[in-house]
């Protein structure tokens, strides 16, 4: 059930109304749990069983871990929890990929291996709810939180529909307390939540799907047929498409949760205005990057083991972060490139003792960061290395005329430049702060433009959110 669908609109209205008339907090939570499972089952009903299994196992493991004294059995339970979660993720997400790579590796040494046909559908959201669930078990193990929450509270934490399929990746330590204590959405929360939903849908449907996606899909479909102008538009366009697609989804999720009285963290903070790559990762998909930092990079040793060890930890984290996005070497390459940038930046910053750069240098650093991040999206978007290389070559193919069409090209490039300017302006601010400065007339007008545009461009092909596939 996509947020940008009529089915969700009806589902959401029913949830809001019934949730509000429920007499007790426990009844509200039970209702939200049922609604979340209905929401999830709309994709593939049998996969509800996987969600239920994962939830039950982690709840039970965490409960035992929380009760036990320190020692090997406690650690063994944590390892068992990790194995179950990562095993499920590995089986569904990486099974086919591993078999295909094993086949290729065997062929290199002359062994003919034919893997079985792998036609198992990836359960939607498994990467997101697995990480959310893992955070609970690990935090209980480290005694950061207690492992004694009720099954109802835990099941709702994992399956709460606004974050279930594409995040933000919520932490048990932050969301469980909200679930355990009765909450009521204030008028301000409700109004701002609906406003975020409208702005999120506008980002997704109008900016990502209507302006950027057509150019991106056309050029990346046959990159050899397009010249420099079209390819630059597509490459810049994909920066816009993936940002507005995913940040739009995140805004919707945050807004929906707010209308029900729950607070989620920000997932994006003007990432294309980042100054350097470590700054970029503090602004892009914040809940994933902070998860990887806290549950992977730091346990690996973080920056505590010297230069070489730190570089290794950064690379491992980024490679796994890349692989998290999907079973493809292209994602690994993308993660590896970002890891290399972070390592290089770390070394450059260590060697450069200046603490404050002049404004011009900061602008230049922002533009360089954006340019490199944008070019690094090429292997992320391309289906294979050949397509990526062809698209990269297309950036310098000046002998072909423009083919995408003047209007889509102008809209795509124009929107990309507006996006950069807007993020630059929002760099040290927030959406809430900016919107709070508007007059009440402007507030209504902006939201009216969002809703009217959503209506005018409705009825076309529906595109799923990009991050659903991860």
């Amino acid at each position: 059930m996509l947020f940008n669908s009529l089915t969700f609109l009806i589902f959401f209205v029913v949830v809001l109304v019934v949730y509000r008339v429920m007499p007790t907090w426990t009844a509200r939570k039970r209702f939200l749990l049922v609604a979340s499972y209905v929401f999830y089952s709309s994709w593939n009903p049998p996969y509800v069983a996987i969600l239920l299994f994962s939830t039950t196992m982690d709840w039970w493991f965490a409960r035992q871990i929380g009760r036990m004294e320190e020692g090997p059995p406690r650690k063994a339970l944590l390892v068992a929890s990790l194995l179950v979660n990562l095993g499920l993720l590995g089986f569904f997400k990486y099974g086919g990929f591993l078999l295909a790579n094993f086949q290729d590796a065997a062929a290199l040494v002359g062994i003919i291996y034919r893997p079985p046909t792998w036609d198992i559908l990836l359960p939607i959201g498994i990467s997101f709810y697995t990480f959310a669930s893992l955070s609970y078990t690990i935090d209980v193990y480290h005694r950061n939180i207690r492992g004694d929450c009720s099954y109802l509270d835990y099941a709702l934490f994992v399956s709460f529909f606004p974050h279930l399929v594409a995040g933000p990746i919520v932490r048990a330590s932050k969301l469980l307390p909200q679930i355990q204590q009765p909450r009521e959405a204030t008028r301000a929360m409700f109004g701002w939540g609906l406003s975020l939903l409208a702005m999120g849908l506008f980002s997704k449907v109008i900016l990502a799907d209507t302006i950027f996606a057509p150019v991106v899909e056309r050029v990346y479909g046959h990159p050899e047929q397009f010249g420099a102008l079209d390819t630059w538009a597509a490459v810049l366009g994909f920066s816009g498409q993936i940002y507005f697609d995913f940040s739009g989804y995140s805004l919707c999720a945050i807004g929906i949760a707010l209308t029900l009285g729950f607070e989620f963290p920000d997932n994006f903070r003007a990432p294309y205005a980042a100054r350097g790559f470590s700054d970029f990762w503090r602004r892009w998909h914040i809940t994933l990057s902070s998860w990887l930092r806290d549950y992977l990079y730091i346990p690996l040793g973080g920056n505590r083991g010297g230069r070489w060890r730190t570089d290794c930890n950064v690379m491992i984290t980024m490679l796994i972060g890349g692989l998290w996005h999907g079973a493809s070497w292209m994602y690994v390459l993308w993660g590896g490139l970002h890891g290399a940038y972070l390592v290089a930046e770390r070394h450059l910053r260590t060697n450069d003792s200046r603490t404050e750069s002049p404004q011009r240098a900061q602008i230049a650093l922002t533009l360089i960061t954006f340019a490199v991040v944008t070019l690094t999206w090429i292997p992320f978007r391309a289906v294979d290395a050949h397509t990526a290389a062809t698209a990269l070559a297309g950036l310098f193919r000046f002998n072909l005329p423009e083919r995408v069409g003047t209007l889509p090209l102008v809209c795509c490039l124009g929107a990309a430049f507006v996006m950069i300017g807007w993020q630059f302006a929002l760099r040290d601010s927030s959406l809430e702060e900016r919107c709070g400065r508007l007059s009440s007339g402007a507030q209504g007008l902006i939201l009216a433009v969002c809703l009217i545009c959503l209506y005018l461009w409705s009825g076309g092909d529906e595109r799923a959110f990009i991050y659903f596939q991860f």
Partner: protein, 375 residues
């Protein structure tokens, strides 16, 4: 991600809400949205536009399911817009005592649909394929037909299925509002029907069984006709200030220079199509390939690019199914397509009657059931 472990706290969950009454703002915005929709609907109504059934994937899949469920009673219609516009399914039903199932898809190849029917062992009825040379001449079958066939193959009968629910809601909403009439987006309705000084009138109606009825009396002729010819030709030759006579002469000259398309892919596809037809015939079904009427310069373009001797004649000679070209049937030769490519709604019944007679689709007296079967 940050390189330092010093900031290893989780992201901030407490949200500073912006000042202002955002509930009032969103309520005002919603009010303006409703007002916009209402104004558009009223303005479209004043310009003579009415809501229409939208030819959606859900409707096609419903017809496709009927094609399987009806067994031998099914009269399955496959093709493109000509099959949708030219055939009167009510007349077809009454004259053949079979149940027409409209699977034709506007602007696409018939091949993926025929392939899907051939692979489905429950399809036992009569399949009438509106044949066009382009479908065989192209090397690939990537078309909307393949997408719809995939939608049928992966359909879910589960009541809470998201896709089914969404399609049902969309179909109902779109068939209630003028902004979505004829499958347009509201933005297209705004630009092409409200802002445009001379909007194209609503000359086409989609019927509940996916057939269509065109009223060419509503469109501006001969501009419409020349537009269709140039669309078929793939070139816009019209220049400002050009008279109709000059445009006609220019088109005739251009068509005179057209060369036949290469027919290697066509020849290669013939055994594939025959295998599909044979699969249905082996189950006791019947397959009929029919070339539908075209007229004037549209026909001239087709004849120049796909000469009968190099294309249709070769297919017809190799096919074990029934084949029929309208040009060979005296009762069909007289049908003139107003736009060169499709018949007007007023011609449909007569054409359908001629088609039934030519194909001997009408049952003999002894074969008539006591009561005509219905779906």
């Amino acid at each position: 991600m940050p390189l330092s472990t010093s900031s290893s706290d989780a992201p901030d969950y407490s949200r500073a809400l912006p000042s202002g009454d955002w509930l009032a703002a969103i309520a005002v915005a919603f009010g303006l949205l409703v007002l916009t929709i209402a104004v558009m609907e009223i303005a479209l109504a004043e310009r003579g536009f009415a809501p229409t059934i939208v030819d959606s994937p859900r409707l096609w899949v419903a017809q496709r399911i009927a094609a399987s469920q009806l067994g031998r009673r099914a009269l399955i219609l496959v093709g493109d817009s000509r099959m949708q516009l030219d055939v009167d399914t009510t007349a077809l039903r009454s004259q053949t005592h079979l149940t027409p199932v409209q699977l034709a898809i506007d602007g696409t190849s018939f091949v993926p649909v025929l392939e899907g029917l051939a692979k489905d062992p429950t399809v036992l009825g009569t399949v009438v394929v509106q044949f066009d040379d382009v479908s065989l001449a192209s090397k690939t079958d990537s078309s909307r037909g393949a997408d719809l066939q995939a939608a049928f193959d992966h359909r879910s009968s589960w009541i809470l299925d998201y896709a089914n629910t969404e399609d049902w809601l969309e179909d109902n909403l779109h068939s209630a509002l003028r902004s979505y009439a004829d499958g347009s987006l509201p933005i297209s309705a705004l630009v092409d029907r409200l802002i445009a000084p001379r909007p194209t009138p609503q000359y086409l109606r989609t019927l509940p069984d996916r057939s269509r009825a065109a009223d060419y009396g509503k469109v501006a002729m001969p501009d419409w006709y020349f537009g269709r010819v140039m669309k078929n030709l793939g070139e816009d030759l019209q220049q400002p200030g050009m008279t109709y006579e000059q445009l006609y002469a220019l088109l005739v000259r251009r068509i005179g220079t057209l060369q036949p398309e290469p027919n290697q892919a066509y020849e290669a596809n013939i055994p594939r199509i025959n295998a599909m037809a044979d699969a249905i015939r082996r189950r006791g079904g019947r397959v009929i390939f029919v070339v539908f009427p075209t007229s004037g310069l549209v026909k001239a373009v087709d004849d120049a690019r796909y000469p009968r001797a190099l294309f249709w004649a070769r297919f017809a000679a190799s096919s074990r199914a029934t084949t029929l070209n309208f040009a060979d049937v005296p009762s069909m030769q007289g049908f003139i397509c107003p736009d060169g490519s499709h018949l007007d709604a007023r011609q449909r019944t007569a054409f359908t009657t001629a088609l039934v007679a030519a194909l001997a689709l009408a049952p003999t007296k002894s074969a008539l059931p006591v009561r005509p079967p219905r779906l």
